[in-house]
Symmetry: C2
Subunit: 311 residues, 2 copies
């Protein structure tokens, strides 16, 4: 491969395609498969205890000698232990999300870790740049999982963030094809982060019942919920319907949090309880129609991206 | 101009760019300016009584000999009078929205009117095709004004609709630049419909206070509101804040409708009451930074579109 741009140079990968860190989906198996195929594989630490994360880092290293990253939600209660481990073990790239980029960026950078922060608005893009990140992910409201309060779509957010910062911009949300990748690159992105399609990959650690629900999803099957707690995009199911009915009736953040309980995403995504679990996935699931090896997904997207040049 | 594609051929225009019909913004002045510049100008009948519409059709014809269209929201109480007038006066192109495409398409087609229907989901795209429309507008949730319940973004909706129907697809929502036009054309669109940027044009009949508020808008300044009534994207102001507070507390559709009253959009958009009026505009307003002649907008977008080939 001769392709090179700011993102491939920054990350040392063949293609400017990053697999999103996703709770209960992206362990060492998925991350190493993506990295081996030439993209950036990402271990999602959000659903891991520090010891589990340690095992995933070791296993990912045994499975690939290519670069990979760890995604760290900054509000994680285990954040101190996670960051300590990441630096002690010499992890080279960290993608932070859901929090203040000022908290950890300079510490990580001093330890020779490259830092990318996920943002959903211009203000946090500027904050990230000021904190010294190497790149930002601009994630639109169509993305699965946690989401910004502004509800800005990828089509609007990418040019806004590109205009606001000079660090490279990675687009996320609504991207599951090479054409969508071309579209966001035209808007100014230097690379893409792809979640949902990799959640449905063979190597994803999600339960097969969840993967089947992803590929069966149609338009309108995901909605943004829990805006009074933390906005999150979910596949509609019994759990969503309950939450939605409460929200329609004006339930408070406290009441919603109580019903949520704990372990809901594990129950849905990892254990396959597709009725009562919390199923985080992107709107683009409506365009995903098969479960495939991560390598095939990556190369299919890349080749379609190349083919869409000149459309 | 030598450019030609399905949309330019269907509409007889130079560029596959349609100016959206918008209440209190798009009378004969804006429509004729866009048509004279080579796009498709559209008179928005949603805010017009039948006699007013008649005057706008006559004036538009005096101001341009190029094709123009009338946008007709199908739920308009004056729908019978509007459609009768459109056919009697020999209007050539109608864009219908907010209703069932089966209601009027065949009647219009029998009267040699070309029909385009605006959809926000796959189901209505298929229904439109079955009803015999000449094209569909696939409008994402970032668009201003009335919106679909699925909240599907343009980036996800355009490929979904393209896959579902064989009639030409016009993308709408989040498009205010040539790069965004290129992005949606890559996704499969055959043309674009642009609202917000024309709402802020010199020829828009909107009040200058509203136009100034559009160009001052930043990301997060519009939100989808009134989902229990008809979802509509609004600029945040006192009116929005009141509605939003009611919604947070579980207000019913009836309670919301009562507070809405009548004439709210006229008050905001046409009379310039930017605090208490209902300000319908798209999320892409965050990317619009000047009030310009419609012709300049059209040519700027078209030239940027041409320049973005090969990105």
């Amino acid at each position: 491969m001769n392709f090179t741009n700011k993102i491939t140079a920054l990350l040392g990968v063949d293609y400017p395609i990053i697999q999103a860190g996703m709770v209960w989906c992206s362990g060492w198996r998925l991350a190493s498969a993506v990295s081996n195929a030439g993209g950036l594989g990402v271990v999602g630490s959000g659903s891991m205890h520090p010891d589990t994360l340690k095992q995933h880092i070791f296993r990912c290293r045994s499975a690939t000698d290519k670069p990979f990253a760890i995604n760290v939600p900054l509000m994680n209660p285990d954040i101190q232990a996670h960051m300590r481990m990441i630096m002690d073990l010499g992890v080279k790239i960290v993608i932070t999300s859901a929090g203040n980029p000022g908290d950890w960026t300079s510490v990580l950078k001093k330890n020779n870790v490259k830092v990318i922060h996920v943002v959903s608005n211009v203000k946090y893009a500027e904050k990230s740049e000021a904190a010294g990140v190497d790149a930002v992910v601009a994630e639109g409201v169509e993305a699965g999982g946690h989401n910004g309060r502004e509800e800005t779509t990828t089509l609007c957010l990418v040019p806004l963030v590109k205009k606001a910062v000079s660090v490279p911009v990675i687009a996320a949300g609504g991207i599951a094809s090479g054409r969508a990748m071309r579209a966001v690159m035209v808007l100014g992105a230097d690379g893409v982060q792809i979640g949902s399609r990799f959640a449905a990959s063979l190597e994803s650690s999600a339960h097969s019942a969840f993967k089947k629900k992803i590929i069966a999803a149609a338009d309108g099957d995901t909605m943004l919920a829990l805006k009074k707690v933390i906005p999150v995009r979910l596949l509609k199911n019994e759990f969503y319907d309950n939450i939605h009915a409460m929200e329609e009736n004006g339930a408070s953040a406290e009441e919603l949090t109580q019903v949520l309980g704990t372990g809901r995403t594990k129950r849905g995504i990892f254990e396959g309880d597709i009725l009562a679990g919390e199923l985080e996935i992107g709107q683009v699931s409506a365009l995903i129609d098969r479960i495939e090896p991560a390598k095939d997904i990556l190369l299919n997207i890349w080749n379609e991206y190349l083919d869409s040049y000149n459309i």
